[in-house]
């Protein structure tokens, strides 16, 4: 058999790729037929509800579960291993006891019957205040990256003294030095479908309906906990109600559900309550930063010196110092980072980990430089393209900056910071930010069958988070075989299928495109061998047409797809193909850029910020499905508007309680809050030629900085900490007026 040369068809020859297609599971979702983990009702199932910690830091002094067992309908009570009498709990919301009952109501009543008491311990939550954290003994050792400077310390130099002198010298050489403070607090993943599972243990086998981004990688966790073989565990997730980086593992609640299923012999449904979901099931680290930025009079940056702090929860953490400064690198720079420990659940990966915060912490300073110089921030960004350090090319960023500026009509709308015309108390402004992301193709294996009746079916243990993965798989197969999307059947979302990587880091579209295109090209090559004699041709003389296989250049010598497949005889043709993460491939690549510009209106009297327009220019290699690619960017921008203007975790400083852990209080944008969003998918030939690159994360990175910069451009005042709530806006205006 001839070795297959894997490749994508050219733009001209692509019948389906790059066009707009409806998602194949759209109607099932829109009509409510789609069964999510929460929706799977197993016969005779028990429902679990939990007692959770009511205080930010406590020691359990009493825990009597006997009264819960007396409640009619309660079948089993499980105390979590971390929650016995004498145990210390470090954050509000931690699950302590699980009650399994015949109904939700009975389970809740059981939880309320538990006799529980605790000793309050000291609480610390003030992550924004580095000095307060130091005084409370909640800081960890400050990390310093090796400074990059023009001169190097000599062997005899004291390094600290040398760098102090060197940075003083470098700043002294600058025409302008800007000092700033910026911050971005903790937000949560807030998946609308909470974390959890519906599962059953039967005949030594565990079948788990799990709300997961990791269908192929979670069976092990269950197997180990229950001391059984991973092959005895099946994890299923056809539909998931949001993950955003927080749903990679079974979770200790998942393990508890499995134990309860085993001990009761009944199926278990264990989904977190809303407040538990916000408190313990995933959050994003906070970042606060003090920056000194030196530049020349044209806005070209020369020196960066920063100290950042923040938290990922009770173990410290915070935003990685490795991505600060973000994308635009001053030639000389020094970065320090101090992690702070607070009484809160540890963070989880949140869509583009570290990048959105680093973008705010860097590019707000760049915008303040433009404000100081009284020049356009577009000019400052363009002037610093030469300092971009990214896996995307500098010239792509330059082109994207220009496209974004055209789309928002920068020329006619821009004014110097704080100098725009006011309509009553309302002023408008523009702000820019740019970003990068990897988006490499994850591991993926696809088993593909072509049936003698012409049917095509694939099996792959990937998952569709709502990004349109299922549809992408179908498009790749249909394109390769000259078929329509509805002619192929795609099976995903089951750990019994060939393994595919977790959906994290925008790695899924590349992964499934790799495995499905490879499998399809391999299968087609074998089908050509079968069909060639019938068409009196050699296999390499054949090609696919629409619904047929034909001899190249001789359209009259062809067989319909069905006729061709009938030649397979009785048995289906089956192939398996895979891609290994990191392996060089003509089908996929990594490293994208993107530029975004926000246009906002700010009411100086009320402090309310309204989105007017938002432009997102994004490259992503080759576009598979234009419709869902555009949706990904829309969604990412809206999630960005959410953390720029609305959402934050609020911990009560004296109790450590997460006081806004309900959706009425945890503010998210509604349909009327997002303004107009303009998406420009940047796909010139040289970008398309790179193959498929992930798109989920990158467009969520820039909105925070772009919107903050737009508000600063409108007001002439920096509102230093996100989200830009009316209170923060008014406080910043008041403070600026007080100074002036």
């Amino acid at each position: 058999m001839a070795k297959t040369g894997y490749a994508w068809p050219s733009r001209e020859k692509s019948r389906l790729l790059g066009k707009s297609h409806d998602r194949i599971d759209g109607l099932v979702k829109a009509t409510g037929e789609a069964k999510y983990t929460y929706d799977v009702n197993l016969k005779n199932q028990l429902i679990v509800k939990c007692l959770s910690a009511p205080f930010g830091h406590l020691r359990i002094t009493k825990l009597d579960t006997a009264p819960a067992k007396e409640i009619p309908g309660v079948v089993e009570v499980l105390v979590f291993p971390h929650a016995g009498v004498g145990k210390e709990i470090q954050w509000d919301g931690e699950l302590l006891v699980a009650v399994a009952a015949e109904s939700e109501s009975a389970a809740r009543e059981g939880v309320q019957a538990i006799r529980f008491d605790y000793e309050k311990l000291d609480v610390f939550t003030n992550e924004e205040d580095l000095e307060a954290a130091k005084a409370a003994g909640r800081t960890m050792r400050t990390r310093s990256s090796e400074p990059t400077t023009e001169r190097e310390p000599g062997d005899d130099d004291d390094e600290d003294e040398f760098y102090e002198a060197e940075f003083k010298r470098l700043f002294d050489q600058c025409d302008v030095v800007v000092e700033g403070f910026y911050g971005i607090p903790v937000i949560t993943h807030c998946c609308l479908e909470p974390h959890g599972s519906t599962l059953e243990y039967k005949d030594g086998k565990l079948r788990v309906y799990l709300s997961t981004q990791n269908v192929s990688g979670t069976d092990d966790g269950f197997a180990k906990a229950l001391e059984m073989g991973a092959d005895q565990v099946e994890v299923i997730c056809q539909y998931i109600g949001g993950g955003f980086g927080s749903k990679f593992s079974p979770g200790y609640w998942g393990i508890a559900a499995a134990r309860l299923a085993k001990s009761t012999g009944r199926p278990i449904k264990f989904m977190l309550d809303r407040d538990q979901e916000l408190k313990i099931a995933g959050n994003r680290p906070s970042g606060y930063i003090k920056v000194r930025l030196g530049a020349d009079k044209n806005g070209e940056i020369k020196v960066w010196d920063s100290h950042q702090w923040g938290t990922s929860g009770y173990r410290g953490g915070g935003v990685s110092d490795r991505v600060v400064p973000y994308v635009i690198q001053a030639p000389s720079r020094r970065v320090r980072a101090t992690p702070i420990k607070v009484n809160a659940m540890q963070a989880a990966a949140w869509r583009a980990p570290n990048h959105p915060q680093a973008c705010v912490m860097t590019q707000c300073a760049l915008d303040d430089l433009a404000a100081r110089l009284g020049i356009s921030s577009l000019d400052v960004f363009l002037r610093n393209v030469k300092h971009i350090s990214s896996r995307q090319k500098q010239e792509v960023y330059a082109a994207e900056l220009k496209r974004a500026a055209e789309l928002i009509d920068w020329k006619s709308k821009w004014h110097p910071h704080g100098k725009g015309p006011a309509k009553g108390s309302v002023v408008e402004g523009l702000g820019i930010a740019l970003h990068t992301w990897g988006g490499t193709a994850n591991n993926s294996e696809c088993r593909l069958r072509i049936y003698p009746d012409g049917g095509v079916e694939s099996f792959c243990g990937t998952q569709d988070l709502g990004t349109g993965t299922r549809t992408v798989c179908a498009l790749v197969l249909a394109e390769t075989f000259g078929l329509n999307v509805e002619d192929v059947r795609v099976n995903i979302g089951d750990s019994k299928y060939p393994p595919s990587g977790a959906s994290g880091g925008s790695t899924t579209v590349g992964a499934v495109c790799e495995s499905h295109r490879r499998a399809a090209q391999d299968a087609l090559a074998r089908l050509f061998e079968t069909v060639a004699p019938k068409l009196s041709a050699k296999p390499d003389e054949l090609e696919v047409g629409v619904g047929c296989i034909r001899v190249k250049g001789k359209p009259d010598r062809s067989l319909s797809w069905r006729e061709a497949c009938a030649l397979l005889g009785l048995k289906p043709l089956e192939v398996t193909a895979s891609h290994k993460r990191g392996a060089a491939s003509p089908l996929s690549d990594e490293g994208v850029g993107g530029v975004q510009i926000a246009h906002v209106a700010v009411d100086r009297d009320t402090g309310v910020v309204r989105m007017k327009q938002f432009v997102a220019v994004q490259d992503m290699g080759l576009i598979v499905n234009r419709k869902t690619a555009t949706s990904q960017v829309h969604g990412a921008v809206i999630m960005g508007i959410a953390y720029a203007l609305f959402e934050e975790r609020i911990l009560d400083p004296s109790t450590g309680q997460f006081v806004n852990a309900e959706l009425a209080d945890y503010k998210l944008p509604r349909i009327g809050d997002v303004g107009e969003i303009v998406v420009d998918l940047y796909e010139p030939e040289d970008q398309r030629a790179r193959g498929v690159i992930g798109l989920g994360e990158p467009p969520v990175i820039s909105p925070g900085a772009a919107i903050s910069n737009a508000v600063c451009n409108a007001l002439g005042v920096r509102v230093p900490v996100l989200p830009l709530t009316p209170k923060r806006v008014l406080d910043a205006i008041r403070q600026a007026n007080g100074r002036g």
Binding site: G32, Y38, E104, G241, G635, M639, L663, A664, I671
Partner: protein
Amino acid sequence: MKDPGKSSGMHFHRRAFLQGSGAVAAATAISGGAAEAASRASRLVRSKTQITLHVNGSDHQVAVEPRDTLLDVLRYQLDLTAAKPVSSDGSSGASTVLVDGKPMTASTLLAIACRGKKIETCESVSSHHPDRICRTFVKHDSLQCGFCTPGFVVAVRAFLKRHPDATREQIRQGLNGNLCRCGTYADMIEAVVDLVKGGGNG
């Protein structure tokens, strides 16, 4: 026969009551003696009543406890899971159903209060026989993970009945009761604009 649930005539909305503690507190206030009251309240909320619910055009006999929400009964007894439990206080709109044509959140309605009412869930249509709203949502890709989508679809059904000629601004104002985390609002607005123009009828 006297219907035991009917005499209450109450329209319960309190989350605390739904979750049990409210009932205990209320009973305590009436009789004093916390333990005895708790026990009585507990018996009260647990006693099951046979009622008929009229859902998506047909009658369903269900046994409900006074504390059962409409959402509980739809999801666990009728296996109608399009309405979702996202927020217990209705602030997400994910459990939106039509009750006598009005959009209401099933998570904040007690099932016994829904006797004699016409309840319509998202599942009144199916993927094989979708309505124009579902088709238009798909056309504009107004959904991603899809968990909030049925609530939005029902909200849009109600919205278009009241505002068949809605402007873009009215759409932005009128669908603020529902929440989406994936960020499908931009595409949802386009779908509703299309529906106002008569889209999805073909």
